[in-house]
């Protein structure tokens, strides 16, 4: 019986009913994969709460929230997925747009395949990959290709934009279309090829508090911080507009 008491005691400890204390609250921010570096920086300069991040492809995050994951803030890389969150009744108030982004072709460092235009992606011998059609980056890439009148079949539909960059860095694929901010974040390991404005697509990033947030006040404060001049300036250093 004593052993059982020990086991139950450990269980109680593991369940951790934390008593009220003066420690700062913790919020869970679900953010699009393309926001990884920028939001980590924002999180460390935000003092209203400890911010824990969950970065993934936007539709993955949406599914997690729909299936009951505990989230306080949702930052999407497009309005379509944000609209779905609202339609499902998981948004508190109206989402606010906090950043814009543009697309760029990403190729191996030094551009060994000599890619200059979107149409080069369709050349034989160029292994092009994209994010999946439900991932904002994949959808935007398809739009840019359509605008340029280029037909190219991706060899893989990755689950988020960072996987596209990773496969290019590893040399497994020759080219992809990602956000300019991703190319910047990858540094010298890849090279970016600009896409002309006429073919480019502007990505819109909305942010909202998630219904059932365990710390509504801190979630709202974090959103205010992201939208503040300081937040915008920080985002700008990562290439967001």
């Amino acid at each position: 019986m004593r052993k059982l008491a020990v086991v139950l005691g450990l269980l109680a400890l593991a369940c951790g009913s934390s008593p009220a204390s003066s420690a700062p609250p913790t919020i869970d921010v679900f953010a699009a994969a393309s926001l990884t570096d920028a939001f980590k920086a924002l999180g460390s300069s935000f003092h209203g709460a400890n911010v824990r991040f969950n970065f993934a492809g936007t539709p993955t995050l949406l599914t997690q929230i729909e299936q009951g994951a505990q989230a306080d803030v949702f930052a999407s890389a497009d309005t379509t997925n944000m609209d779905r969150l609202r339609a499902d009744g998981f948004a508190v108030g109206d989402p606010k747009v906090f950043a814009h982004n543009q697309l760029e072709i990403v190729v191996a460092a030094g551009n060994p395949k000599g890619i200059t235009f979107l149409s080069d992606l369709a050349k034989p011998g160029v292994l092009y990959i994209s994010a999946g059609p439900t991932v904002p980056a994949g959808k935007y890439a398809a739009q840019a290709l359509a605008k340029a009148g280029v037909t190219v079949h991706p060899r893989s539909l990755e689950t988020d934009v960072k996987s596209v960059i990773a496969k290019i860095e590893l040399g497994e694929a020759d080219a992809g279309i990602v956000y300019t901010t991703d190319v910047r974040a990858a540094g010298t390991k890849v090279t970016g090829v600009p896409i002309p404005d006429a073919d480019n697509v502007v990505a819109t990033y909305p942010i909202v508090e998630v219904k059932g947030a365990k710390n509504s006040a801190a979630a709202a404060a974090f959103i205010t911080f992201v939208l503040s001049a300081e937040g915008k300036a920080k985002l700008a250093t990562f290439g967001f507009q």
Binding site: L170, E172, A173
Partner: protein, 262 residues
């Protein structure tokens, strides 16, 4: 077996343990929209994923048989230095996170990999191809076949082989006419286990082979991605995989448990 009554606490915890496995399965069955099940099953995307999964998992089982049975034979019969180390390394994928296996495969067979860069010179590229899927599935699933066949070889009665040799049979003849038929049940059990594991492979596949419908998007990948766009559809596909796994388990029940004791 001597039967006894379970003490209250053991009984309760055991019931909790069993419920932990059973409740998710019930959840899947209850939440599957049977009305659209037939439609989801016969949709072009599902059929494509199903077809690819069957082709890839059967190919990897065939590959595992060709390479795995000889490997099992060597492990069971030949004493060579470092045998236990090699054996441990080749069974590692059973406990290795599959995504780690996928990364390792990229570093070996990717375009810039150890062997992949040589393959690239002759124009062979494995990532993003169905061959890549087969490779990833074989990597993860073959150890199940090797271990099962090795157990069969160790527990078989070797006097039959001795008798055949005394009667003048060559070693190859002994292997094909005596050994193989004797361990056929183990080979079958190992193949089914290997096939089931290959069918369910996810991590190594998406990491090494990527994801494209009809080429590298197998059932588990389709299930995972469908959850984001059409949850009901993913429930239906999950149920199919569940039924297949259940059939494998029921079919293997006696044989598997018998081998487990070997």
């Amino acid at each position: 077996m001597r039967r006894e009554k379970a003490p209250l606490w053991i009984g309760l915890l055991a019931a909790l343990g069993a419920a932990f496995f059973i409740i998710p399965l019930i959840g899947l069955v209850v939440r599957t929209p049977w009305g659209i099940a037939a439609r989801s099953l016969t949709s072009a995307d599902t059929l494509e994923a199903l077809k690819l999964s069957l082709i890839a998992s059967l190919s990897s089982t065939a590959l595992a048989l060709v390479l795995g049975v000889p490997l099992a034979w060597v492990y069971a019969r030949v004493d060579f230095p470092g045998r236990s180390v090699v054996r441990a390394l080749t069974t590692l994928p059973m406990v290795l996170p599959p995504v780690v296996g996928g990364i390792a495969l990229l570093l070996a067979f990717g375009r810039r990999g150890l062997l992949g860069s040589w393959l690239a010179m002759v124009g062979v590229s494995l990532p993003f191809t169905t061959a890549g899927v087969v490779l990833a599935e074989t990597f993860v699933a073959m150890p199940f076949l090797v271990l099962t066949v090795e157990a069969g070889l160790r527990s078989m009665d070797r006097r039959y082989e001795d008798a055949a040799r005394t009667l003048g049979a060559r070693r190859w003849t002994v292997f094909t006419r005596v050994t193989l038929p004797l361990i056929a049940p183990s080979i079958l059990a190992g193949s089914v286990l290997c096939w089931a594991r290959a069918l369910g492979e996810f991590g190594a596949t998406i990491t090494f082979a990527g994801n494209f419908p009809g080429v590298t998007q197998t059932m588990p990948l389709a299930v995972y991605l469908l959850l984001e766009t059409n949850p009901e559809g993913s429930f239906v596909l999950s149920l199919i995989l569940l039924v297949v796994s259940l059939l494998v388990l029921v079919g293997l029940r006696d044989r598997w448990l018998g081998l487990g004791a070997a």
